[in-house]
Symmetry: C2
Subunit: 500 residues, 2 copies
């Protein structure tokens, strides 16, 4: 066995560079003064370029061939690692270098146009910059599809969710699409028949919000010797698994959104921290996929922390955090009211502001549209019409302009097609995992009700975190829950939470 | 002209990697949780390794040869840039790779031993770990000396202060050594005849110290769109020239040391910010040398900010910063008392705590000793004797143990021989530059007295900062001051400040 150890050495070097890039990206979003942007962009581009050079090095393909021929000498983890290496190599070499460069240039330009076009609701300006991006993404999808032996859109999805294919997504998303409109109507009818929740009135000082967030992170199992909590414009989870850095933002008029972001990002962070230590610097030690990553944040935020059980535990802590600053004596800060607020459903135009029930509808719409944009069936100029029609069909509301319609997300402008499904796949995986966890381990819900997340975290570490990329995501989910992913558990969860 | 542009491209890539490393190092010292240390060490080592690979690439030597042959097609900056490239290449390739690796291993071990041996004052433990380091440094010095065509110790100095040689240092340091002991005695006699300064009694809250520091940094011309001020164990100036990050630490019992560190590091930062923009990513755009860098920090801290003129300006700001927290009405916070405190002389054992007058004596001692350790004339076992003897001769005090004697600095344990002289060369350069600046530009001292550093900064940008590495440091100093470096101006400065 000669080739495999050399592959580990090379991928270990790439992991170091990726880790350096992750910390520099965190710094860019949290610490960097504005004047540092240009130099930072060059540093990050340099690290990406070197990784790309290492990954597309001609010798690497030969090493992979040799190691695959030595396959029987490898153990399970090594074999899975080799499989992941091949996956990275195929994605990197599947697209010609000039196409990569052209796409990078076109998406930079189109993101810049998008930033100006969105506030002006200027679809024509966006469309002009987006058309060349779409054309290049179609070329990329075709090239990758050929390299991977799958359909073009499948090849794009595979970049975010290895092994996941349109055919499966179509089935579970069709199930949801048939369910959601009637379900939403029923939830809204039930909600309007009940008394309105009492609004929470601040101001909620940022420092008190931070202290509350840190306290709950510790309860969740976040280790501050291996991570940080800071502030950025958009919340995210970054850094490396030995040093996981999450962010939030504090709105002094509304503590709930910043706090939910902390819980959500802590879910991502616990996944990163729980990845298999021995494989930390290798591809098989990485998180499985975008949808599994999103399942971990949504499991913590949506499944565990928006439950009445958890909010009963958290309510006294929330009251204690803000008691020095405002009157917390009324019904507003009671657990039942906090729960009504945390599960309030309201169809709206903007995906990132959507609640647990309407969020999937936003994703179903984007999935539908990006498939036909990529295939060429939907010309870019027809995008606004398709968007507005879909919103009415799925959510019963129509955008007043493009800014709150098809121009709201940066993803397509940046050439990111195939990414949106992972949000809702993540929500379904979260429901299915949480259901299996609670069935397998009776201590989980009583733990959550007492602010003790150790039983839940123990199950997740065993079933998901510690598995890294040892299995494909369908296999991982089936091993953890006893069944393949479908929409049933997620629908059952929504029905229990919103209709009973 | 073909080779030169390719060299610029390659060195530009190395500059990006060095910049990434600088920000990661800053993060390590300011933000990183303890559990992130191991991963960070690997990231930093990876970046260094890639830079070293790029720099010792065989093709690079050929490119340098070709570009030097094309020399007449280059302009002054390009020619100087090429000279700097050759300098970096010679230093990197002058030492065999196995010696670099052995040295890296030995210094890591010896630094670790030093950390434990110093508090225990255990010279024998240190000596055992340091002997192999010294032996390897001697091999390195011999190899570099051969590659550069100079003496071994000169080759080490050249790594920190390109072009500076023992022969020149010997002259100026001998001049200082002849001057200092008698001068120190005279200063101490004069000081003891005068009334004691009134001590400043805190507590000085960290946040108030920070606000004061930020205000003075802005006066000095520090641009917070291109930099930050944070806290670390040892103050330093890091980051990159578009994003310069300085640090200090706040002692709530003594604001002066933290504030002086802010002013000192701001001097370094202004140099970095003022480097020639067009050459930012090239070797010729780098700061000239360690001693010129130190001259910029000492010019701001020692020459400008410990002057009575500046302290008259700063005293009301200092009082305003602490007025909400303590009684600032007495003589303690008057400018004259602050000045007496800022120029207090007291021979002590510890270099990093030394004042402006006794600091050079600490350096003279180390310079003497490291020269004869490197040549082999002084065996490691005789180091404590030589140290203690030198302290008595130069400063009139003898260490009670090795912890406050020859074990106090980490430099030698880390294999850093040839670095110490730059501290005192920097102090002499600072005096000579400040003197020339004030002669050339009458507005400088009145500006400092009014908290307006623009005239001083303007002169420094023109004479030093904007020149990058266009000239050798002796040429740079001669162009800026009209004379080569000598000890005369520094001695004159000390006499004026401490004896009149």
């Amino acid at each position: 066995m000669k080739a495999y150890p050399e592959l580990e050495r090379r991928f270990g070097r790439m992991a170091n560079l990726a880790g350096a890039g992750a910390v520099l990206h965190w710094d860019w979003a949290t610490m960097m003064p504005s004047g540092g942007a240009e130099a930072r962009a060059e540093q990050l581009a340099e690290l990406s370029l070197i990784c790309h050079e290492m990954l597309t090095d001609h010798g690497l393909g030969d090493l992979l061939d040799q190691a695959e021929a030595e396959g029987e000498e490898l153990d399970n983890w090594q074999r899975a690692n080799l499989h992941e290496m091949r996956h990275h190599f195929s994605h990197a070499t599947g697209v010609p270098a000039d196409l990569v460069a052209a796409l990078s240039k076109a998406t930079s330009a189109s993101e810049m146009v998008w930033r100006e076009a969105r506030p002006r609701s200027d679809f024509d300006a966006f469309a002009k910059a987006f058309k060349p991006v779409l054309s290049l993404v179609r070329q990329k999808a075709a090239a990758k599809g050929e390299a991977l032996g799958c359909a073009p859109y499948d090849a794009l999805i595979d970049g975010y969710d290895p092994g996941v294919r349109m055919a499966e997504i179509d089935v579970v998303f069709a199930d949801l699409a048939a369910f959601l409109p009637d379900f939403l109507a029923a939830v809204l009818a039930r909600q309007s028949a009940a008394p309105e929740p009492v609004p929470l009135v601040g101001p909620f000082p940022a420092e008190a919000q931070r202290t509350l967030g840190v306290g709950l992170m510790e309860r969740l199992g976040f280790d501050f010797d291996h991570g940080r909590l800071d502030v950025s414009h958009h919340p995210f989870c970054g850094g490396v698994s030995e040093d996981v850095r999450i962010t939030t933002r504090y709105d002094e008029a509304d503590f709930a959104s910043g706090l939910m972001a902390v819980l959500h990002e802590t879910g991502h962070a616990l996944y990163e921290r729980g990845l298999p230590k021995a494989w930390r610097a290798q591809p098989v030690g990485n998180a499985r996929s975008m949808s599994v990553h999103e399942s971990q944040s949504l499991l913590i935020e949506m499944q565990a922390c928006r439950s009445l059980e958890f909010l009963r535990f958290a309510a006294p802590l929330i009251r204690a955090a803000f008691a020095p600053h405002l009157d917390i004596s009324g019904a507003a800060f009671e657990a039942e009211n906090l729960h009504r607020l945390a599960t309030r459903v309201a169809p709206g135009m903007i995906r990132v502001d959507a609640d647990e029930v309407t969020y999937p509808a936003h994703i179903l719409l984007r999935y539908r549209i990006e498939k036909v944009m990529l295939s060429g069936e939907l010309p870019v100029d027809d995008l606004p019409g398709a968007w507005n029609e879909g919103m009415v069909e799925l959510l019963g509301v129509a955008p007043a302009n493009h800014a709150e319609g098809c121009l709201q997300d940066i993803h397509w402008a940046g050439g990111d097609i195939g990414y949106f499904p992972s949000y809702t796949l993540g929500a379904m995986i979260a429901a299915q995992l949480f259901d299996a966890a609670c069935r397998a381990e009776a201590a989980i819900m009583p733990g959550i009700a007492a602010g003790d997340f150790a039983p839940l975290l123990g199950w997740l570490r065993e079933a998901i975190h510690g598995q890294g990329s040892l299995y494909s995501s369908p296999a991982l989910i089936e091993r953890a829950t006893g069944r393949r992913l479908d929409a049933a558990v997620f629908k059952g969860h929504l029905e229990r939470r919103y209709l009973t």
